[in-house]
Assembly symmetry: C2
Homo-oligomer: 336 residues x 2
């Protein structure tokens, strides 16, 4: 059996209560006593039993994070940001990979609830539609990250995905492109992909392009799916001149897929991604994309969460982070 507060108390010749006070840096303890206690702690190699503490205090210092895809570099950056801030506030992270499936999201929600997490950060988004209200998210302080949640009460932090997508199409249009293709995220990704589709639409509208004539394929944020999607688009409409992929990995896959079909990038086809993951500047041709900082987003999400846990009004906590078009080598004017 592990050593408990009682053992320490015995060795130090004090009561368990006093030991507890020392552990928690209570100010009301004589220096001399504290020293004795600390010695005993060291000697016995005592470590607090978190479960007992959580049971008693009803405060787990755990933050549950639900996201989709551990091979998603952007998500991992975001997670790193969350972790950094969490560490500052003495929170620990527990991560559930939903793989974009609603069922798994609910599953993790239950598990996290059972562990009495102090807060929740949700980075995936299929949950939004069906649940949001009904689930026990109520009660648990929650911040959505990476997608904008329309509900006025739900705090969230993201870039303006709609505006960013619009910027991209505008940029391509100004370059002279008229025949577009889109590789979106999974259909279950309601928030992020949804917002971007809106942005695409609004740019199309501005420029009198018929949205319904534009091929849109679904990808799962993998290289493979990007490559596949682009091949479908190009076999469908070989004269497509610009393709917008909803993340960088798919865009990089798309570049390779298009090259396999014999297209020269960017001379015959422009390809644009989203996120600006580290890799994007190391790939060849270097990828044109929209930069958003996952790290900042995660960090800020955790800061928001901390404030909510401390009692701040969640409704106030909604923010767009800046985004930035990074023009590199994978985009250019359409072929003559």
């Amino acid at each position: 059996m592990a050593v408990t507060i009682k053992d320490v108390a015995n060795l130090a010749g004090v009561s368990p209560a006093t030991v507890s006070r020392v552990i928690n840096n209570s100010s009301l303890v004589k220096e001399e006593t504290a020293e004795k206690v600390n010695e005993a702690i060291d000697k016995l190699n005592y470590q607090v039993n978190e479960s007992a503490r959580v049971l008693r205090t009803n405060c787990s210092s755990l933050i549950g994070v639900i996201g989709a895809g551990m091979d998603n570099p952007f998500l991992m950056k975001l997670l790193k940001g969350v972790e950094t801030s969490a560490k500052n506030h003495n929170f620990n992270l527990i991560f559930g990979d939903s793989e974009g499936e609603l069922e798994q999201e609910i599953n993790y929600l239950d598990i996290f609830n059972q562990k009495r997490v102090d807060g929740l950060i949700i980075i995936t988004a299929s949950i939004y539609n069906n649940l949001l209200e009904e689930i026990k998210i109520k009660g648990i302080p929650t911040v959505f990250a990476s997608g904008y949640v329309n509900d006025i009460e739900i705090p969230c932090i993201s870039v303006n995905n709609t505006k960013a997508a619009e910027d991209i199409i505008d940029y391509l249009y100004d370059l002279g492109h008229r025949r577009f293709g889109i590789v979106r995220g999974t259909y279950s990704d309601l928030v992020t992909s949804g917002e971007r589709i809106k942005g695409v639409k609004s740019s199309f509208q501005k420029h009198n392009i018929d949205f319904n004539s534009v091929p849109i394929y679904e990808g799962d944020f993998s290289f493979e799916s990007g490559s596949l999607a682009v091949k479908k688009i190009l076999s469908d409409k070989p004269d497509t001149s610009a393709i917008f992929c909803f993340d960088d990995k798919m865009a990089i896959g798309a570049i390779r897929g298009a090259e396999e079909l014999g297209y020269k990038i960017p001379d015959e086809l422009s390809i644009i991604g989203f996120d600006d993951i580290e890799l994007s500047s190391y790939v060849k041709p270097a990828l044109t994309t929209v930069r958003q900082s996952g790290y900042d987003m995660g960090y800020k999400a955790m800061e928001f969460l901390k404030r909510i846990i401390d009692g701040e009004d969640p409704g106030k906590l909604k923010e767009f982070l800046p985004h930035q078009l990074k023009i590199r080598e994978s985009s250019g004017p359409p072929p003559a």
Copy 2:
């Protein structure tokens, strides 16, 4: 206050013990009673309080994982493998990113101990040297993954890093290369990088190459560091014809760095990586590398851990997973 087992008991008109039995699928409960209880559970939206359960049973169903770098795709694959197996055994993961720093590893070790994790998977390796014995790893079932731990009692799972590195140098030598450069991992990465250095040495010895004449630089497993290292090597010894990087990200960075200096890959310089991350076949030129399956490794590590938790002798659990040289476009014969 959250709803407890007592509330459920009251509503269902049974005792708390019975509710507990239902929750834990005890066979000794009448179907009819179970139904009543389950109804009450649903109606009250009851969720078990894990802390109380852990306190009582001394079994957290938590596995602590310590690794370095959430932007390391290989590590993330490994983690995914761990997670998959963990889920099968109803374990949850709690991950600590040590960033390769000993201090953080110890820190997480303490935290995990306080949470009374049922087991530990350690993927980072600076810990090995200084601690291993002294730390409270004792007591907690532990599996090391990705590096071979020499201690007979410590279960571990990895590829044979020594042999793999030797294979690579042998392959390059057979191609005709004589002037090598090495980009190793951080010096704190004692296990993995250490083993690979050994392999390099042993191939050199076989072929009468003086190990001390070969430039070895340290990288931190980032694109950037690979690019930097290769530039140093090439400015130092411009006639280097083959560079072995200890992971794929550094190798890809190295390719870009060498290209910036005007080298043609692979005609003037061969570059080889390690891991075979997904990206490596999508990069241009496609990367020659050694394939090891992070997913399998993680999965198996968790399977090992489960067996140890169930009482199996840890000493028996040591295994090398197969590795495989993947020859792609970034390597070839040296320039004439």
